[in-house]
């Protein structure tokens, strides 16, 4: 079984802020991590390998420093790692990212592709399904449980708004996974040692024979027009006075709005 896990290195988004006065991103001391959902994808890949045999390949597209994310995945037990890195990939939106990944995965070959449900920096959840379309394989998003998997098919639980669906799909298939699926293992000491020395395969746009007009900024239909601190709305009224007075004023304001709850 060829198991491919797509991961992304992200800034720990809980730490990223915009300075409202200067409009700049404040990222002092923000660490880079493996996207948290992708840890569950790696764990799922390792569990499938333990059951059916085969190998787990982790792949990421990113700047050269994304190599660290791959080494972290290797230390958890992944067998091989592929880094798609090329200045020509920079500025890619989800469309161009999914296209680029599809070119590489076509080269590597995969029976099952596992992605985290979304990355915490962009939160789009688009690359997985787009990648499946480029590879012309089925996908199931928001997988919270793998009921069974064989060489030919997989049965999973797909999280829906009001519960879940039990979905069967033929292989090759792509799934995107949520945190409820499993508990990611911690790297072993031996895993860490091996990961340090492991060879990371680097692929450029030329290596994957990607169409130049479809990658990076050039290949991206969407563009970021501007980024800004969230706008805070409307005229606020601070209610002054003693606590009793403040509460009385609030009640009167709400009554004045013909608030039907009072």
């Amino acid at each position: 079984m060829n198991i491919v896990v797509c991961i992304k290195q992200v800034p720990d988004s809980a730490e990223v802020r915009i300075n409202p006065e200067t409009g700049t991103l404040i990222r002092d001391g923000v660490p880079s991590i493996i996207n948290p959902y992708d840890l569950h994808a790696i764990e799922a890949g390792l569990q499938i390998k333990e059951k059916l045999g085969g190998k787990v390949t982790v792949i990421t597209m990113g700047p050269p420093q994304a190599e660290q994310a791959l080494r972290d995945a290797l230390s958890m037990g992944a067998d091989e790692a592929v880094l798609l890195t090329d200045r020509a990939f920079a500025g890619a939106d989800t469309w161009a990212t999914a296209y680029t990944l599809s070119r590489a995965i076509n080269k590597i070959g995969a029976d099952i592709i596992i992605c985290g449900k979304q990355a915490i920096d962009g939160d789009t959840a688009q690359v997985g399904p787009e990648l499946a379309e480029f590879l012309d394989i089925p996908h199931v998003a928001y997988v919270r449980k793998i009921d069974s998997i064989t060489e030919d098919s997989i049965i999973v639980e797909r999280l829906m708004e009001e519960g879940y669906d039990i979905v069967e799909a033929s292989l090759p298939v792509l799934i995107t996974v949520v945190k409820e699926l499993n508990e990611p293992r911690l790297p072993s000491l031996r895993g860490k040692m091996a990961a340090k020395k492991a060879e990371i395969k680097r692929l450029t746009a030329k290596d994957i024979e990607a169409e130049e007009s479809l990658i990076g900024l050039k290949g991206s239909p969407t563009q970021v027009k501007r980024i800004f601190a969230p706008e805070l709305k409307k005229e606020k009224k601070m209610l002054e006075g003693s606590p009793e007075e403040q509460v009385q004023k609030l009640i009167e304001e709400l009554k004045g709005l013909k608030c039907q709850f009072l």
């Binding site: 789009t124 399904p129 970021v224």
Partner: protein, 398 residues
């Protein structure tokens, strides 16, 4: 495109260095230098006080398409579950109607695996036209047939904008449609506008966990596709006298390599209530412990509402995740939202700031929650809320 520093202008102030989310700007001989880690996010462009950082276009750049003007009209994908149209579809029609009117074009809805009656419902809520496909394969949600059929319809009729709900269904199959069409797709939009002059759709969405907002455009490709979270847009009042056309779509060659074996409902009463509630009383870190939520429950009950929470309160274990409101929880839009001891981290604000009336109670007068509040009370929740409960009881003669 490349981002470059004009070193003759750079003053070496280092402002740009900390603005880069990718650590791609370093100082070299007293001047800023952009390394190969640059992801072209443009965050540095606006921060340079000297205007020394610029983007350089290279020859032949930019995605182009033959005549974007050939695309006309606004479409909404109306998702259904068990044949019943999801409420997000009506909200999308509200947003779509406004965009269509601004552009002076028609608004159409696309409905798969549902009834003519449901299609008529969509017309009442603002659609001029409904494309209805009643194939049995479309009754349950499978990505491939949904994506293929929608892509086919878009290719045939060429709308300029196509919207879907950012639900498990919309977020799963819409990207496949975008992949097929080579279309730009923007997830989880919270606001739309039309750019004067170009007619481009300005799509605003939270990023980095809601700490930052980004406006996205798709300047050279059509259609422009976007998803919107439930409860973000406002639906119109239904108008039973509205007229519209239903166009029956008879697809052939639909197939699916996935199969839904069973659908299991597992709905928690509470999560439904939060999104439907007209009044929400929410608590945050400022409550100090789980007991504070008992007080909020009492206030909520008096107002006929329910209790929500910020991520901080949920992370502290004071209340379950199903109460969480914000970027990583529910998006809500009640008539009255009372925030108690919530500081107002952006990730919380994006989940509640479209509420009609917001009341904030917080000890810290500088708390950002006051910036979105209609009424602010600087004070101790444990003093204010009991007084509020007492006053409301008096008012109601309890």
């Amino acid at each position: 495109m490349r981002i470059v520093v004009r070193s003759e202008i750079c003053s070496g102030c280092e402002t740009c260095v900390s603005s880069c989310p990718y650590t791609a700007i370093v100082m070299k001989e007293g001047k800023a230098f952009i390394t190969e880690y640059c992801q072209l996010c443009r965050a540095c462009l606006s921060v340079c006080p000297e205007g020394a950082i610029i983007e350089v276009m290279e020859e032949g750049e930019g995605v182009t398409v033959a005549e974007p003007s050939a695309y006309r009209g606004v479409w909404v994908f109306a998702e259904q579950r068990n044949g019943k149209v999801a409420s997000v579809a009506f909200e999308l029609l509200g947003a779509g109607r406004r965009l269509a009117d601004t552009l002076g074009v028609e608004l159409s809805a696309v409905l798969f695996g549902s009834s003519e009656e449901s299609a008529r419902e969509l017309i009442k809520y603002g659609a001029d036209r409904v494309y209805l496909a009643q194939e049995p394969l479309l009754e349950r949600f499978n990505d491939e047939p949904y994506a293929r059929l929608l892509a086919f319809l878009i290719n045939t009729h060429k709308p300029e904008i196509v919207l879907a709900g950012a639900t498990p269904i919309g977020r799963s199959f819409f990207p496949r449609v975008a992949a097929i069409l080579r279309a730009g797709l923007t997830a989880d939009c919270t606001a739309f506008d039309i750019e004067p002059g170009t007619g481009n759709l300005l799509q605003t969405r939270p990023a980095f966990g809601g700490n930052i907002m980004a406006t996205i455009i798709t300047p050279n490709r059509r259609p422009q596709m976007a998803t919107v979270r439930p409860r973000v847009m406002k639906r119109l009042e239904p108008d039973p006298s509205r007229k519209g056309d239903i166009i029956y779509v008879k697809p052939d060659n639909l197939s699916s390599r996935t199969k839904v074996i069973d659908t299991v409902k597992e709905v928690s009463e509470l999560s439904v209530n939060l999104q439907e509630a007209e009044v929400i009383v929410s608590g945050g870190r400022g409550l100090g412990d789980a007991k504070g939520f008992k007080l909020l429950e009492e206030l909520a009950a008096l107002l006929g509402g329910v209790v929500g929470a910020s991520r901080a309160a949920v992370d502290a274990g004071w209340i379950s995740y199903s109460h969480q409101i914000g970027q990583t929880g529910k998006t809500v839009c009640p008539k009255l939202y009372i925030a108690c001891g919530i500081s107002g981290a952006v990730q919380h604000l994006v989940g509640m700031q479209s509420s009609d009336i917001i009341v904030a109670i917080n000890k810290n007068p500088e708390a950002p929650i006051f910036n979105v509040a209609n009424y602010g009370i600087v004070g101790d929740v444990y003093e204010i809320v009991p007084l509020l409960i007492k006053k409301i009881k008096e008012l109601k003669g309890l």
